[in-house]
């Protein structure tokens, strides 16, 4: 499949804001990682939703989290699923676990794919995509920080 889309300029998919996710993406645009926290049991949840999966409370606040975490698992894409990523192949996609608990997909930036490892300490960095969207990505972090 690689090469099939050569020369075609197709933009990468970008998130669509919904009632549930708008505060998350607006936070990202301000380069702040906001995660929902249950005001009754304190559980952090991701992706955004109206109910706490731990206690079913609807009493929720958006909390700014540390942005620190570690790599839970990671992959490297050699197959081109979407033409917009043709120049990035081979690129990594990682699942990171935030210090506050939630796990999320992201890209690891600031190091080569070969240097990624499970439990690698990472911290958030925001990549501005357009006027509305900044994508949270993660870069290696020194352990003592």
């Amino acid at each position: 499949m690689v090469g099939k889309f050569e020369g075609i300029d197709i933009p990468k998919p970008t998130p669509t804001l919904t009632e549930d996710s708008e505060p998350y993406w607006k936070g990202c645009k301000k380069h702040k990682l906001l995660i929902q926290r249950c005001k009754d049991c304190g559980h952090y949840r991701f992706p955004p939703s109206g109910i706490c999966p731990k206690c079913t409370s609807t009493n929720t606040e958006w909390a700014r989290v540390s942005g620190r975490g570690k790599v839970y698992s990671w992959t490297v894409f050699h197959y081109l699923y979407h033409p917009a990523f043709s120049k990035d192949i081979p690129y990594n996609v990682a699942i990171i676990e935030l210090e506050e608990g939630p796990r999320m997909h992201t890209n690891i930036v600031g190091c080569s794919n070969e240097d990624i490892f499970i439990d690698m300490p990472v911290e958030v960095v925001f990549e501005d995509i357009n006027e509305e969207i900044a994508l949270p990505k993660f870069r290696p972090r020194e352990k003592q920080q």
């Binding site: 970008t14 991701f46 992706p47 698992s73 990671w74 894409f77 050699h78 990035d88 499970i118 994508l135």
Partner: protein
């Protein structure tokens, strides 16, 4: 708790459409062909069918009222119908629901069917709708998630790519005894072939993945009483179970795993309890094998071995015909073709009927079948396991 449904119903017919990498027929036609052949295999007429269950097709726009439309096209007037979607766990879930509906007096004879056209109108569906928290990062489809799972399993337990390869090699060997298999013509593969196959999403290689298959299929379920008077010997539904969770991404609670990582155990536990048998009683198994790593995880989570032992288990040839747990004897999704798990039910039925010739497991009396699916690429990523224990 109600009365046990053990052996109250039986699978009496199985059937498939023409299937392969590219079959230029609609989802509906593939579905109808499978239904027709399953009803004929049972020795029934469509007028005998009064229940219809469908797996909802994955293509957008094909879902609304799908089960009613299938019934209309088949010319079936049912008194119980439903469309189900728990991904690859759906075919088994349909057989389970059929068993419940029959015993609840809603209907007597149920066709459980699916159809899967990967390229409706010739347009490939290689980019299913992901969601906002995956696709902007270049993460698409089900396969990459299993790559994450494989990496984590390798990290936790030392599982190797060669061990995953052993699953692919074994099931291909079985497919070479099944002239209907999509990979039959391709012939056997070796571990080296697996290791040399191109990387798709690290650490998964091409041969770690099931092929794309256009297909339709169905099974017919009826009461045990009625099953005794039909064309084939009845294959009884002796045990069934399910388990659903947000494992891996939103782990719940299976204390056997260090992190609560893989949580299909309940699906097997409930089925074994219902059937009143244990793992050692299984003569032949059909594990849902969209990806090689999945078989390793299922062996562990269903209790055929301990967590972390799945890799060595498959490497020692125990899944081969003649081995301790002959599995995916038609080739599985990996080599028979991606028949959505309906193929797994059908092969278990064929084995218990004794129809498998060269690949027949001697005197097979008890079969274990599993399905697996859920939402592998749409947040919150969540999973469904389904199981059947079938006996003759």
């Amino acid at each position: 708790m109600g009365e046990s449904l053990k052996d109250k119903c039986a699978i009496v017919g199985i059937g498939f459409s023409e299937f392969g990498k590219r079959v230029p027929k609609s989802t509906m036609t593939l579905t109808l062909e499978g239904c027709k052949r399953a009803i004929e295999d049972a020795g029934l007429a469509k007028e005998d069918v009064d229940g219809l269950l469908v797996a909802l097709p994955s293509a957008e726009g094909e879902r609304h009222g799908w089960v009613c439309r299938v019934g209309s096209f088949l010319g079936i007037s049912s008194t119980f119908s439903a469309g189900l979607d728990i991904g690859g766990a759906t075919p088994i879930a349909m057989v389970q629901l059929a068993t419940m509906a029959i015993n609840a007096g809603m209907c007597n004879t149920v066709v459980c069917c699916y159809g899967w056209q990967n390229s409706p109108m010739g347009i490939p569906l290689i980019m299913p709708p992901g969601l906002d928290f995956t696709t902007p990062y270049g993460d698409f489809a089900a396969l990459p998630f299993k790559a994450h799972v494989a990496r984590r399993h390798m990290h936790l337990f030392g599982t190797t790519s060669r061990q995953m390869g052993a699953v692919a090699v074994t099931f291909r060997k079985h497919a070479c005894m099944n002239p209907q298999a999509q990979m039959y013509e391709k012939g056997p593969i070796t571990i080296e072939d697996h290791q040399n196959s191109r990387m798709i999403v690290e650490p998964l290689r091409l041969l770690d993945n099931a092929p794309i298959t256009d297909s339709g299929g169905a099974v017919v379920v009826t009461s045990a009483q009625r099953a005794k008077h039909l064309r084939h010997r009845p294959i009884y539904i002796s045990g069934m179970g399910q388990a659903h969770s947000g494992e891996f991404m939103r782990p719940w609670r299976d204390p056997r795993y260090p992190e609560g990582t893989f949580e299909g155990g309940k699906a097997a536990e409930i089925a074994f309890r219902m059937a009143g048998i244990s793992h050692k009683d299984i003569d032949v198994a059909q594990f849902y094998d969209g990806f090689t790593i999945l078989v390793i995880i299922e062996l562990e989570t269903y209790g055929f071995c301990n967590p972390g032992e799945g890799g060595p288990f498959v490497e020692e040839g125990r899944l081969e015909l003649g081995g301790e747990l002959p599995s995916n004897t038609a080739g599985g999704l990996l080599s028979e073709g991606h028949l959505m798990g309906m193929g797994h039910i059908a092969e278990a039925v064929r084995q218990l009927r004794g129809e498998c010739r060269e690949r027949q497991v001697n005197d097979a009396e008890v079969a274990f079948v599993s399905g697996y699916g859920g939402s592998p690429h749409e947040y919150p990523i969540s999973f469904s396991y389904s199981t059947l224990i079938l006996t003759r």
